[in-house]
Amino acid sequence: MSKAQIMNGNELVSEAAIAAGCRFYAGYPITPSSEIPEHLSKRMPEVGGVFMQFEDEIASCMAAVGASYAGYKSMTASSGPGISLKQEAIGLACMMELPLVVVNVMRGGPSTGLPTRVSQADVMQARWGTHGDHMIIAVAPETLLETYTETIRAFNMAEKYRTPVYILTDAVLAHLNGRVELPDPSTLEIIDRTQPSVPPEEYNPYDVERFGEVPPLPNKEKFHDYRFHMTGLNKDKTGFPTVNKEAVEADEERMIRKITGNIKDIESFEYYKMDDAQLAIFAYGTNAAAARVAVDEAREAGIKAGMFRPITVWPFPEKQVAEIGKNFDKMIVTEINLGQMLYEVERATKGSIEISTVLQAAGVPIRPQQILDKMKEVL
């Protein structure tokens, strides 16, 4: 039986992580994400998991990578400056193909910026923050309940595709206390990394020919018996370094394909009142809550507006946005930054639609009225 509770976004991420099977958390204090380590410092020992506050953000993320290698579902959380520091370790998880969940409670920037204020200015960092060619999965919940369910989904995707997954929340969602009816744990779909069925001497962590594009990875119970090597260098199927041109290229391409090739499973989005709409709004994360109100109010005023909302923001929903580009004349892109996903919308629609924007990087949420005003202006 589910039970309604008053919780904030940071607590919901923490509880969802535990429900998803996360048993290792490493972090470093930073506003506005600190309630995540505070909550997990209490909860992890209760469930027999590991909680550690490290000396810095880099160590926290490296520890989470190490725990994942050791078979544990692991998570780290931070905000802008801390996420910048974690980037090299996130790249290591990409290369080693280790499941990892990274929570970025977005705040203003660059640099120290606005530690206590809302922002969506790290969406491009999530995509391209670590160096080198790579693909990333990122989800951006809009509501408290979705913060919980998307955290579960983030762990599932991390495990299924052996990859880092970002949860992009923000200062508003993190500190918003609200009534949430959590799903009954028995109804949750929890995915664990595939386990090797071959004897240890036959196991290789990247043997795609034998095991498919996402090879099995020992969990904490199997870890002891399966000895293998991992490195941040480009690797062959055994996990050892290689500079072989064909092997490197095939591996780099596969690491991207294992995500883009499974886009149907990874993508998630919402069409809100788009069926009969004449004007499309593109919004994500908490800012979509403002856009939703604006759409409703516009309709009351006789403007047939609708909203497209990506929940999985990376990979970007190119097909869906391209489709909107073909079917609509005008679109408003709104985000709490000076225009980041705007680039992706422009790229996907290839000039087929007139794009207007409601952008703001002032540390305060965009109000529905601002979006409504823009609708009236463009129509």
Partner: protein, 272 residues
């Protein structure tokens, strides 16, 4: 009885990619011999490394191995030890890797007194990147980024580790491989953070710039620069200048080990 090294090495990965005469091989051999004497099983051993010449050692040993990022071996090792407290977790690291870029992680692992054994291949230089100076490059000697001689004072790894809270600290060198093996063995057996400062010869990157391009000559220099703890006790500060004191320099079995402290925390949380 002679050690069967093939039990511990990934034989197909040989020969070692290190320069002929490199001290890395001597230290790796000392570590393997110590493990063999302890009778440990390969499945029970986790070896973690960062980046640098010595960090490639993880590729050669048939344990659980992970070759991580520059300076970050210690937090990875810490996490693995927390997840699998029954495993023996070893960090094999260079002087730059552990005391420059990884210095913060190193001191904090010492402070926690987590049961890791950190073996520092202290060859006074960044070898892999081409001979740049490290926090352990002796003052006055040349490096590719100190062509006129190093003006930086050095860390004393042993004092640093002890001051930060490690509970077993020893120093030896490639000039005394048997003693080094014994210290590593003691460090491995110690429950708590153990640090072995293993002075080593990089005759290529440090040696060639400082008229010690010959490995034998450089090992002789290391021998000359090291003094045992007993001998050092009778020497003046002036006489000890530029010398490396060897021996088991600190041992403390009273301080609580970190995974034990965490285990007690879990029990407390679950009995509330």
């Amino acid at each position: 009885m002679a050690t069967d090294y093939s039990k511990y090495l990934r034989m197909e990965k040989l020969p070692l990619y290190w320069c002929p005469g490199c001290g890395n091989g001597t230290i790796l051999k000392a570590m393997i011999t110590a493990i063999d004497e302890l009778g440990w099983q390969n499945d029970d051993i986790m070896m973690v490394s960062g980046i640098g010449c010595s960090s490639r050692a993880t590729g050669y040993v048939d344990f659980h191995t992970i070759h991580t990022l520059h300076g970050r071996a210690v937090p990875v090792a810490t996490a693995i030890k927390m997840c699998h407290p029954d495993m023996h977790v070893i960090v094999f690291s260079g002087d730059g890797d552990s005391t420059a870029i990884g210095g913060n992680h190193f001191i904090h692992a010492c402070r926690r007194n987590i049961d890791l054994t950190v073996i520092i291949v202290d060859n006074w230089i960044y070898g892999m990147t081409g001979g740049q100076y490290s926090p352990l490059t002796p003052t006055g000697t040349k490096a590719s980024t100190m062509p006129r001689g190093n003006i930086d004072p050095n860390f004393d790894i042993a004092e640093l580790a002890k001051g930060a809270g490690a509970t077993f600290v020893a120093r030896s060198s490639v000039a005394d491989p048997m003693i080094l093996k014994n210290y590593i063995k003691k460090g491995l057996s110690h429950k708590g953070m153990s640090v072995i400062d293993a002075l080593s010869n990089c005759h290529i990157q440090w040696g060639r710039r400082n008229k010690y391009g010959d490995p034998v000559k450089l090992v002789d220099l290391i021998k000359e620069k090291t003094v045992t703890k007993a001998k050092a006790a009778k020497m003046s500060e002036e006489e000890l200048k530029g010398k490396y004191v060897t021996g088991i320099l600190y041992e403390n079995t009273a301080k609580k080990e970190y995974t034990q402290a965490y285990k007690e925390l879990v029990e407390k949380a679950q009995n509330e």
